[in-house]
């Protein structure tokens, strides 16, 4: 079976072969298999050295101190640890949290849980192109606000949040600022020496590292305190217990180090591929790029093909591994909450496809994606009564639909 062409790098990435090699060296008897917490023999010391080297590699990419990096199982855990950890530690100071409607579920569901515990959450609404502004954050602050949590790059639409400007607002108001950087690390320069971010979540598998490992940056100056969510053994300065997974951590470190070396070149190439894709489809009528035109990460192209339903489009694009803004594949029939939060109507949200381009995508891949997308859209519009009506000049919003 010929595998479909992979254009879903925002979902996950393959491990870079250079990374995989280093990981394999940390598994078997001949390798660096020791427990990094073992203090009494050389197996432990070697493993600890590998873990600390990786910690430095991660810190270097974001210009932080290695002592500010806490290993976790991934960005979801990092988000949980950051938000719940702060809420539980600082609950006497206040009970108000600010986030946005387009955050990842790891943040939204964590906030929902805290609401059940008695915290109050404000969900900021983005502009139609997906921007959350520093002013919105400033306006939402209250006396009892303890933390603001916003993502650096949105996973669906690729829009970049101005975390430097928002950090100025939160710091001036003595409110902590958490940023989910799962989609931005290794793709956008991050400098935590200058950006006033207090907590930042990272994932390895979005940038050619392994799944199952991530990190949380916890600022030392000014010091941020957290209540641990995982107890037992006091690893990671008590913030996250559990034996460190040397091979995973080494993989994450190597992936971050490679990203630091190759980010600029990767970005230039990926940006050109994204542009090529957009140029290849945008001349068809009623095709829209979702999210801000320029304030976005290089690899993301979230495109709506109006009057074509997303799931049937995916069915036609079987030879492309992409994802859809339509959740019709689940039983809910709800289109993407992110696209809805931009104020997009349901038809457009249902008709969106997220193409995400990465390190191993080629021009030939993009040309194939363009050809298949065009063919699929033309075929499905031939089948679409909505396209007929649009061509006949019927305003679809004026039609009384029988919702079912």
């Amino acid at each position: 079976m010929k595998l479909p062409l992979y254009l879903d790098y925002s979902a996950t990435t393959p491990v870079d072969p250079r990374v995989a090699k280093l990981m394999c060296d940390c598994l078997t008897q001949e390798g660096n298999f020791g427990n990094p917490a073992s203090r009494s023999h050389v197996y432990g010391w070697q493993a600890e050295e590998a873990v600390e080297n990786a910690r430095r590699q991660v810190a270097d990419l974001i210009n932080a101190d290695p002592r500010e990096i806490v290993w976790t199982s991934g960005a979801t855990e990092s988000d949980n640890l950051a938000i719940k950890g702060v809420a539980h530690f600082y609950h006497k100071k206040g009970k108000h949290i600010i986030t946005s409607k387009i955050e990842h579920k790891a943040v939204l569901d964590t906030c929902r849980q805290l609401e059940r515990e008695g915290f109050e959450v404000t969900y900021l609404e983005p502009t139609t192109d997906g921007i959350i502004s520093p002013k919105q954050v400033a306006d939402a602050l209250r006396e009892d606000t303890i933390i603001v949590s916003l993502m650096h790059v949105n996973n669906e639409i690729g829009v970049v949040t101005d975390i430097a400007a928002i950090g100025e607002v939160t710091r001036a108001n003595k409110v902590l600022f958490h940023v989910d950087a799962a989609q931005s690390a290794g793709k956008i320069a991050i400098d935590l020496e200058t950006a006033k971010v207090d907590l930042m979540s990272f994932s390895a598998h979005k940038i050619y590292g392994p799944k199952g490992v991530g990190a949380l940056y916890v600022r030392r100056k000014p010091r941020v305190r957290l209540e641990a969510q995982m107890h037992g053994g006091g690893h990671e300065r008590g913030m996250r217990s559990g034996t460190l997974a040397t091979h995973q951590i080494v993989g994450m470190g190597a992936a971050f180090a490679i990203a630091q070396e190759e980010m600029a070149a990767d970005n230039t190439r990926i940006e050109a591929l994204r542009q090529r894709l957009w140029e290849g489809v945008k001349d068809m009528e009623e095709v829209y790029m979702n999210g801000h035109a320029t304030q976005r990460v290089s690899g993301n192209a979230n495109i709506s093909f109006n009057f074509v339903e997303g799931e049937s489009l995916l069915m036609s694009l079987r030879e492309l591994a992409v994802s859809s803004g339509s959740a019709c594949t689940s039983a809910s029939l709800e289109p993407s909450y992110v696209l809805r939060a931009l104020g997009m109507n349901d038809e457009l949200a249902h008709s969106s496809i997220r193409f995400s381009i990465g390190r191993f995508t080629t021009e030939a891949d993009i040309d194939q994606a363009i050809e298949q997308s065009r063919n699929a859209v033309i075929k499905l519009r031939e089948l679409s009564p909505l396209w007929d009506m649009y061509k006949d000049g019927v305003d679809l919003d004026s039609v009384q639909w029988a919702a079912h």
């Binding site: 339903e309 997303g310 049937s312 069915m315 349901d346 909505l386 639909w401």
Partner: protein
């Protein structure tokens, strides 16, 4: 999601795609569903003076199962009387296409489209 062979066949080679003149007294048009829900079906039948469906056409905005359900019923309806067509049930459609539970609503919508087309035709007589 895995699709049945029948769904893929109708999706790849939809039967009777098209549009008839809505104003023709012999044509009944049923349009059901809503863009917000991700499915809209337009089903049209052309009925002769003997009350037999001579031709059927459809266009569907929706998932593969919705397209297959409407394509299938256009095939079935041709040559049926209005009464026979009115007896097509969503369970017949979902069985024929081996639809999974989350896609049963597609067959329900196709049944609704048949009824709407028949009602529209009758209202013109």
């Amino acid at each position: 999601m895995a699709y049945s062979e029948q769904v893929i066949d109708h999706y790849e080679n939809p039967r009777n795609v098209g549009k008839m003149d809505e104003d023709d007294a012999h044509v009944g048009t049923g349009m059901v569903g809503a863009p917000a829900c991700g499915d809209v079906m337009r089903l049209q039948i052309k009925v002769n003076d003997a009350g037999v469906i001579e031709d059927a056409k459809f266009k569907t905005y929706g998932c593969g199962s919705a397209i297959a359900s409407s394509s299938l019923v256009t095939e079935w309806m041709k040559g049926m009387t209005l009464d026979q067509a009115g007896e097509i049930r969503n369970s017949n459609i979902s069985e024929e296409l081996a639809l999974p539970p989350v896609k049963i609503h597609c067959s329900v919508l196709a049944e609704d489209a048949i009824k709407a087309a028949i009602d529209n035709y009758k209202s013109k007589q």
